[in-house]
């Protein structure tokens, strides 16, 4: 939502106020990591590591026209990739995401969640920012360092890849 000087001001304020930075962005980083790792608990642990790194490194960041959030997501994405490599496997623990009264739907959700985790990280990030955090594309573009049009195309391709995955799994409708 911010342009020019406003974005710069926010960058500097977040850089100088770790607690405000943490309170503003911890929850969304947990949600992002939960989708990447498939585990809410692992996401909380890793999010703490992301912010521990932020506490050390954010004060020294140079302003390059992108918000501190962009840095947080990049570090979170790198840490998630390291964690997945370390595990050498993927977890399918959906935690509280399970629907309480529809077994078939839960099965479909498992397939969907797995399909989402198998998307390239860039696709997962655009889905997260646009659909989980509800950010307008202008903000998504700033975090991802791309144009609005490029982010819209990424989201479209993410949707198409999901559809292909579901067709392979024999799951068709998820309205």
């Amino acid at each position: 939502m911010e342009e020019g000087l406003d974005a710069y001001r926010t960058f500097r304020r977040e850089q100088g106020d770790f607690e405000a930075l943490f309170r503003a962005h911890y929850a969304e980083i947990v949600r992002y990591l939960a989708a990447r790792l498939g585990s809410r608990d692992d996401a909380s642990d890793l999010a703490s590591e992301v912010f521990a790194e932020a506490w050390r490194r954010v004060p020294g960041l140079q302003w390059r026209g992108r918000p501190v959030r962009a840095w947080l997501y990049r570090v979170a994405a790198n840490m998630a990739a390291d964690e997945l490599r370390r595990r050498g496997r993927e977890s399918y623990d959906l935690g509280e995401a399970e629907a309480p009264d529809a077994t078939e739907r839960v099965a479909d959700r498992v397939v969907l969640a797995r399909a989402l985790r198998e998307l390239p990280p860039e696709y997962q990030l655009v889905v997260h920012l646009r659909l989980v955090e509800g950010q307008p594309f202008a903000d998504v573009a700033r975090v991802m360092g791309k144009s609005v049009g490029a982010c819209q195309m990424l989201l479209l391709r993410a949707g198409k890849l999901l559809r292909e995955s579901l067709e392979r799994e024999g799951v068709r409708e998820h309205a």
């Binding site: 911010e2 100088g16 943490f22 969907l112 479209l156 949707g159 999901l162 559809r163």
Partner: protein
């Protein structure tokens, strides 16, 4: 359908608008896939994680007594010097504040101190400090980037990049915070009262340095008018941006049109509470029309009134329905259907009793009239009818006995 067009259709489908079948199918899939991640992280969990993550603060360093004595002596010398050499700090700040303590129209040229920091912008707008009103437009290369209206605590901001109109009951709802929604001159005006300024005499004026934080405002003030002519922002001593005041005209008063947002057809409306979350209805319960509420009388066009107290997450409002006509009584929170109407074309009408009303023409044809009457604020929403109907209703508003 070409991919680019389909991507735009997908965006429309995700916004709940009409879109092609394939776009709607993909939107449904993406929404379902991301649903498990849409969980809340409780505030208590955030605070606990913050305590775990934040390294312990360093113990304060004990200073040597000798240094303390030397410091105290230096303070004493400085105090004596301050008494002997009277500095005009307070006078200049007071005069600078007084110079801006009336309605003013300003045009600012905002440029980065180094190329690439941000886009050069032109900010223009009007501020009425006595009424707490402000309206600014920021543009770059002829394109409008944003438009901001401040009315007391309430801030409404239109962002061109996303064609989104955000209304918030408090500046704190914006990620950038209260100070950052203000234009540089208004920020300077508000900071002047903090008493943190340092003054330096220049040829033909003064230089006021404000703000002890990381970003400082170094403001050049004209020696005769005490109006700002240039503002420089410095970060850790290094210049970040230079704001040149191109025009600063003072007026006795500006009319309501100067503070009105332009129409932004098709804009998405976001209505945020003070915490930055979307305003939502929490409860609705039927009530008798309270004494003093603005209403249309015991009947309107043959319809009886049905009053409800509607509690939103940002406050509550009174809704009185007369068939297709609704009267909202509100103070702190603007009802979302009223806020949503404000993206449309608007006209100002003066009613019979000299009351000024704003009439908005929305995409759905509904018309809203904002009326301030006898210290209360009301809006009338008509699902049917035209301008004459809503003006007629506004002129019939009266306090309930």
């Amino acid at each position: 359908m070409p991919e680019r067009a389909l991507a735009l259709e997908l965006d429309r489908a995700l916004a709940g608008e009409d879109a092609a079948d394939e776009a709607r199918e993909l939107a449904a899939l993406l929404v379902a896939a991301s649903e498990p991640s849409r969980f809340e992280v409780p505030a208590a969990e955030v605070e606990a994680a913050l305590v775990r993550t934040q390294p312990p603060r360093r113990a304060p360093v004990r200073r040597r007594p000798r240094l303390v004595v030397a410091f105290a002596a230096a303070l004493a010398v400085a105090a004596v010097a301050a008494l002997v050499l009277h500095t005009p700090t307070a006078d200049v700040e007071a005069k600078a504040a007084a110079a801006l303590d009336r309605t003013y129209f300003v045009v600012e040229d905002v440029r980065p101190a180094r190329p690439g920091l941000f886009r050069a912008t032109v900010v223009s707008g009007t501020v009425d400090p006595s009424r707490g009103l402000g309206h600014w437009t920021a543009s770059s290369g002829g394109d409008v980037l944003s438009e901001t209206r401040v009315e007391g605590d309430r801030v409404t901001r239109w962002d061109a990049a996303s064609n989104t109109l955000t209304t918030a009951e408090s500046c704190s709802a914006f990620a950038s915070g209260c100070a950052d929604v203000l234009d540089p001159v208004e920020l300077y005006r508000r900071t002047l009262g903090s008493g943190t300024g340092e003054i330096r005499r220049l040829r033909g004026g003064w230089e006021i340095t404000l703000g002890g934080g990381r970003v400082e405002q170094i403001v050049t003030v004209d020696g005769k008018t005490y109006l700002p002519t240039r503002i420089e922002w410095r970060d850790d001593g290094r210049p970040v941006s230079v704001i040149r005041i191109v025009t600063l005209d003072r007026h006795a008063r500006a009319d309501a049109e100067a503070f009105a947002l332009r129409p932004h057809p098709g804009a998405r409306v976001r209505h945020l509470d003070a915490t930055g979350k979307p305003v939502r209805v929490e409860s609705t319960h039927a009530v008798d029309v309270p004494r003093g509420a603005l209403w249309l009388g015991p009947t309107w066009n043959g319809f009886l009134p049905h009053a409800e107290q509607v509690r939103f997450s940002a406050g509550s409002a009174l809704r009185i329905r007369y068939g297709p006509t609704t009267v909202w009584n509100y103070e702190k929170v603007v009802p979302p259907e009223v806020a949503a109407a404000r993206v449309g074309f608007a006209k100002t009408a003066t009613l019979r009793r000299g009351v000024v009303a704003r009439i908005y023409f929305t995409d759905r044809g509904a018309i809203v009239s904002d009326v301030e009457l006898q210290g209360r604020r009301a809006a009338i929403v008509t699902a049917a009818g035209g301008k004459e109907d809503v003006v007629g209703a506004a002129e019939s508003l009266t306090r309930a006995p």
